[in-house]
Amino acid sequence: MTFSQQIHLAVALEGAGWHPAAWREPDAVPAVGLLSADYWLDQVRTAQSGLLDFVTLEDGFPLQSDAASGHDGRTDRVRGRLDAAMVAARVAPLTARIGLVPTVTTTHTEPFHVSKTIATLDYASTGRAGWRAQIGAQAAEFPLFGRRAPAPDPADLFEEAGDHVEAVRRLWDSWEDEAEIRDVATGRFVDREKLHYIDFESRHFNVRGPSITPRPPQGQPPVVALAHAALSYAFAARSADVVLVTPHTPEAVAPILDDLHSAQDTAGRSAQPLLVFGEFVVFLDADPAAAITRKERLDEADGTAYRSDAPIFAGSPDALADQLAQWAHAGLDGFRLRPGTVPRDLDAIVHGLVPALQRRGLFRHAYEAETLRGNLGLSRPANRYAPARAA
């Protein structure tokens, strides 16, 4: 009997799927349905039926555009979206086991608000929240806030993002787990010795704390970051529990892992677990030729061949399972898959890929834990402010 690594699996939900022409597919949701709660609920339930670790929900402040500067004037692509954290909250009470990881930008938002948003999502989902932290670097999004000049140095945005996550993490810990005591004898609702000022100070902002929201069920909901290069590797190594990377060959995995591990050393976080997920855009059909033809048909409808930062896979679920096994062997802990079209490719992940991985002994047959951290194999972290008294 050979040892098989267990693969973690997530899907990235976005629009009608990741191909820009996905909304034109006959089985796609009608355009206005992209703004309905039921559409997102259906997708998350489908992903949950496939026992996936989590879904991510894309987001961003600017109206979608192919032009970095703002309007691209295109009328043939999906435009308009909903706030991802609120979609995740809307779905939370109606799902039970799958992790919910909305994208929330670090660039224009307040750490105090983001901290309580994700903490509250963790309460509403009883321990299934995560946060995909992302910088907002498009020139078009800065005038929406008018607080600073467009197109600042990306290094600055990543540094700010790291500070943002640090402030959020401290706020999550600013209440010890047992801070609410409801002690009738002394009339005290909380033990204020177990509430902590975080006094976070950085070049970008100061935050005093404590949070208004008690420590969330997971203690620290997992932070997820997508990273492509040195700056974002450094951010992910400093800030994330799960990093999403985009090697285009299995051979490219090892150098990325080396970069991430040395970035972790630099950040002083070598002891922290950092799960590394590979990214794929997927077009899946039992007949691999059909998947390739479908992708070509979508490209034709869109007028250009679809390209992505992530490798694009078009083929059968079985072939994808073999490929994921190979890449996992190269050192990846799991994968976030971006379905080319919804519902078809999401269904194929759940009904084709998942059974194929299960047959290979690479994927769970049932959820093993109640929380997202639990399913990712991450323990619930101790509170950074607690040990002084616990000792």
Binding site: A31, T75, G80, A89
Partner: protein, 460 residues
């Protein structure tokens, strides 16, 4: 439905406030549940919806309160994020309006407009926004923006903030999404959501990225009581969260704000006046009065009474005996330093005069500090048998002291159940409260006319 005089009876609007951080909540009661777990919110919302309430309301707090330099620990402390809870509640309710206070100081209009437009989509048209301004640098310490605003700028900023938000809500008119798969035309219009605002507070432009929501925009609430607040409400709001729940004060306030609407070309019927209210029910009025007294003593412990007195006196009074007389020393009229993060300290506009009144009352009645605080702070609005309470509510509404009430039970989350079970049916029998939801949106529940698809007046 008409009264005996032939005048149509006004329909009462009812809302339920899930209590946040206050001394109203008797958390020591064994029936008192979590203020954080989602199950409490679900239970509370579902009770309100089963009773056909107009909406559920959540207040806001962005810094833990402090007194004498320490985190205030006698009341419920801690609350979840408003938007996140309301979005989750949209999943477990289908008609109930979902209202939240979100301040305009520690947020940016683009982000807030996006969140409310999203909530309106996710709830199929049930979102409402209570627009408030914060002013204190104390709360600002939690935010990168800081936060101090001079008093005179607070409403100017709130109005500018709301104006920007409305511009954003109206930046899509609802006709932009064609979704034609054959022709490949997703948008019927190449540049939807365009906006540009330049005023004293904001200088922003771009394209809003949430298409028009079912109600067009959330229902707008206003809660301030100052001259500027009343003017703001008359000009801009759909409803007022008022403090004036008694007959005389209520009628005066009601007439005042509705009277101000004419100059804005608004129909007074399109602004609902909804005072906050608490209640204690008993089988008989006498039993309710007894129970109300017990609840007041639970709400105002000796420690709490001293803390309340400090909030007026602006001094550390921890050495005083709550069962003894009021301090001989006068309030400190300097900068308020004792209680921080608490709006109520600002209600004491003339601490010396209030102290004088309290002393006179205490002397006349022989009240201790605690007994005085029980009398002068937050006595329940409605006390009595279900019939007495139903009649009191109906009388206040029919006599134009209010259009309805926002009820805060003192037990969370179960305290609303008794009102729903016992008082609501009596109001229904009187023909003054709905027996089923007739609309799907909060605007419809409140009797507010639908917005035109595109509000020329609000567009930039």
């Amino acid at each position: 439905m008409t009264s005996s005089g032939g005048t149509p009876l006004k329909q009462i609007h009812l809302a339920a406030h899930f209590p946040g951080v206050n001394n109203t909540t008797v958390w020591s009661d064994p029936r008192s549940g979590s203020h954080i777990e989602f199950e409490s919110f679900r239970a509370f919302a579902q009770t309100a919806e089963a009773a056909l309430f107009d909406f559920l309301f959540l207040a806001e707090g962005l810094r833990l309160r402090e007194q004498n330099g320490l985190i205030y620990d006698l009341d419920v402390v801690g609350r979840p994020d408003t938007f996140t809870v309301l979005a989750a509640l949209a999943a477990v309710t289908s008609r109930l309006g979902l209202a939240g206070t979100v301040n305009s100081t520690f947020n940016e209009p683009y982000e807030v407009a996006r969140q409310f437009a999203t909530l309106d989509h996710l709830s199929d048209g049930r979102a409402a926004w209570n627009v408030v301004t914060s002013w204190d640098a104390f709360t600002g310490e939690n935010f990168r923006r800081g936060g101090y605003l001079p008093q005179e700028e607070r409403y100017a900023r709130a109005r500018a903030f709301l104006h920007v938000a409305r511009t954003l809500f109206d930046s899509w008119d609802g006709t932009e999404i064609a979704g034609d798969r054959q022709s490949g035309e997703f948008l019927a219009e190449p540049r939807p959501g365009r906006f540009r605002v330049r005023d004293a507070f904001f200088d922003i432009e771009g394209s809003f990225n949430v298409p028009r929501s079912p109600q067009g925009r959330p229902v707008i609430f206003q809660a301030g009581d100052s001259e500027e607040g009343r003017e703001f409400a008359a000009a801009e709001a759909d409803a007022i969260f008022s403090r004036h729940g008694t007959a005389d004060a209520g009628r005066a306030f009601y007439a005042d704000v509705k009277g101000r609407m004419v100059k804005y070309g608004r129909d007074p019927d399109q602004l609902k006046v909804l005072p906050a209210a608490t209640f204690v029910l008993g089988d008989t009025d006498a039993e309710a009065r007894e129970l109300a007294d017990v609840v007041r003593h639970q709400q105002v412990s000796g420690q709490t009474a001293i803390r309340m007195l400090e909030q007026l006196w602006n001094r550390d009074l921890s050495e005083y005996d709550p069962d003894g007389p009021l301090p001989r020393i006068d309030p400190d009229l300097g900068e308020h330093t004792v209680a921080r993060g608490r709006a109520s300290v600002r209600m004491h506009r003339d601490p010396m005069a209030t102290a004088r009144e309290w002393r006179e009352l205490a002397e006349a009645k022989g009240y201790s500090i605690r007994e005085l605080m029980i009398q002068v702070t937050g006595r329940q609005t409605f006390i009595g048998s279900p019939l007495t309470v139903a009649e009191a509510i109906d009388d206040l509404v029919q006599s134009d002291a209010a259009d309805g009430f926002i009820l805060v039970p003192h037990i969370t989350p179960g305290g609303l159940g008794e009102f729903a079970e016992k008082v609501v049916p009596l109001l229904q029998e009187k023909g003054v409260f709905r027996t089923e939801y007739t609309g799907t949106t909060l605007r419809e529940h409140l009797g507010l006319r639908p917005l035109p698809a595109f509000d020329e007046g609000a567009a930039a």
